[in-house]
């Protein structure tokens, strides 16, 4: 299953206007792994994501998706195996109707019309949006747009799902639904996010970025317990690990996470 592996080797990228993007990035993500990419605003998360399917080509270093290094020549193969969900669904949904939008990828892959229809329906059913099939995207709610945006990517059956802030701008229920949906996916997932609670739910591994560099890479729960690391990277413990506000006042001198988590759960 080597085609599900994502490997970055000493990636550097500087924007044409001189803004530093990312610097000395190295990691290896294997098949089926679910990885959160966290960091403050401007840490380079989105820049790194754009490298994963060749939207940006690194100034130096190499990124490899499966057997292919990401370069102009392999772009088509890379984009076929890496599905990217953008932060703003309005950028992603550009066709006149939901059907056309979800069909856009499969048609470009040269699939036959009946196969395209099947894929579109299947992808929409997976995200629970089959009833929206003939609606224009601008008439959907935020949660519906997000679901359809994910369906557009699923329709091309990628091996690796890359998402930029999938839970931003969602109401709590839509967010919960999305997390449960993502849990059911067996793809390799790379999720850039500020929603550390979601990262805790979905990703067993986390990569922390700070000023374009990786400052930590390890099991999510360990990194989120490291307060100095989080503070240094402009982050904060997930809310669930902060315990309940009432107990916190009573036990301010203590700092024992498992009890606080129980408290929050209760």
């Amino acid at each position: 299953m080597s085609h599900h592996i994502v490997q970055a080797d000493n990636l550097h990228y500087t924007y044409p206007d001189g803004t530093a993007g990312i610097n000395s990035i190295c990691f290896r993500i294997t098949h089926g792994e679910s990885v959160a990419l966290v960091g403050a605003n401007g840490a380079g998360k989105s820049t790194l994501l754009l490298h994963l399917n060749g939207c940006l080509i690194p100034s130096s270093g190499e990124i490899q998706i499966g057997d292919y290094p990401v370069n102009k020549k392999n772009l088509k193969a890379v984009r076929r195996s890496v599905g990217m969900v953008f932060q703003n669904p309005d950028d992603q949904l550009f066709m006149p109707t939901v059907f056309d939008d979800v069909a856009f990828g499969p048609i470009n892959l040269g699939m036959h019309e009946t196969e395209v229809g099947k894929r579109v329906l299947h992808a929409l059913e997976t995200v629970g949006a089959a009833h929206l099939i003939n609606r224009p995207p601008y008439k959907l709610s935020g949660g519906e747009k997000r679901a359809v945006a994910i369906a557009t990517v699923l329709a091309t059956s990628p091996d690796i799902l890359v998402m930029d802030e999938p839970t931003s701008n969602l109401d709590p229920m839509s967010r919960k639904r999305l997390i449960n949906l993502l849990k059911t996916f067996e793809h390799t997932k790379i999720i850039a996010t500020h929603d550390l609670d979601m990262a805790l739910d979905l990703c067993e591994r986390t990569i922390v970025l700070h000023k374009g560099k990786i400052t930590a890479d390890g099991p999510t729960i360990d990194l989120f317990n490291d307060e100095s690391l989080l503070a240094h990277s402009g982050l904060e413990k997930p809310l669930r690990m902060q315990g309940c506000p009432i107990c916190n006042k009573q036990q301010e001198s203590q700092f024992f996470i498992p009890i606080k988590m129980d408290c929050a759960a209760g």
Partner: protein
């Protein structure tokens, strides 16, 4: 910014109308497009003083509104909204063309006035036909029909994108204008000094968005061609609809029916 947003919802309302279920809604968009084009050509090609020949053409929009169950007042409001453009075109005719063409007792009507009214009637007929086409078909389906009828692809795609992002652009504009007005504390209209950066900002945001959309397209295998799969069926109903109306328009165009009816009635008495 109530007006911009209201207009936005108004445009969206046409799509709601287009999702109706009458037999006219079910027709292939191409049939409606061709019929509308025939209608517009026939109306526009009438001579500038021939008001009487235009009257029978009213049958088409009225029939469509009634059997398509469209809201008459809504369409009328839309027509009035764009009327100033037509008035602007015709308003100088009465000044330029003062030759008396009609004498009704002591009232003499100059050719300029007649051509002015003919412009207004033509405007009313053609604009209502276009609005009815969209309300019965939906903008996207009209674009599909254009494409299937051989209109250049890039043109159709531009139209589709224009329509898709019109809503996003209006949304963005109204947010910017609202942000400005909330911090301008009732100082009236937008000053030129503010207006220029506002428009510039909007352009930059648009470019930014265009770039992001292009990226999103590339990520899903865009190679310069947009393919849309859509099966349309031009059957017996469509042929009957298009032929019957076109024939009727041709009759209206070739014979001055109101005049004939007038003669008939005059001869009878």
């Amino acid at each position: 910014m109530a007006t911009i947003e209201n207009n936005l919802f108004d445009i969206g309302y046409m799509d709601t109308l287009a999702s109706g279920t009458t037999s006219l809604h079910q027709l292939d968009p191409r049939a409606k497009l061709i019929t509308t084009l025939m209608f517009v050509i026939m109306v526009v090609s009438l001579g500038k003083y021939e008001i009487s020949m235009m009257i029978p053409f009213v049958v088409y929009p009225l029939t469509m509104i009634v059997s398509g169950e469209l809201p008459f007042n809504y369409l009328l409001k839309k027509i009035i909204l764009v009327a100033p453009f037509a008035i602007l075109i015709g308003i100088f005719n009465p000044l330029m063309d003062r030759e008396i063409l009609v004498q009704l007792g002591s009232l003499s009507i100059a050719g300029g006035w007649i051509s002015f009214f003919s412009i207004m009637i033509r405007f009313g007929l053609t604009v209502s036909a276009a609005l009815i086409l969209i309300s019965l078909t939906g903008f996207n389906a009209v674009c599909m029909a254009l494409e299937k009828l051989g209109a250049p692809r890039p043109f159709v795609i531009q139209l589709l994108f224009l329509y898709r992002y019109l809503f996003v652009l209006i949304d963005e504009t109204s947010r910017m204008v609202r942000a400005r007005s909330l911090r301008s504390f009732g100082s009236g209209g937008i000053h030129f000094k503010v207006f220029v950066p506002l428009v510039g900002q909007l352009l930059l945001r648009t470019l930014d968005r265009a770039q992001r959309i292009h990226l999103a397209m590339c990520c899903r295998g865009f190679d310069g061609h947009i393919r849309i799969s859509r099966s349309l069926k031009f059957g017996f109903n469509e042929i009957r609809f298009t032929l019957a109306w076109s024939l009727l328009f041709f009759c209206f165009r070739s014979y001055n029916i109101p005049l004939k009816i007038g003669e008939l009635i005059a001869g009878y008495f």
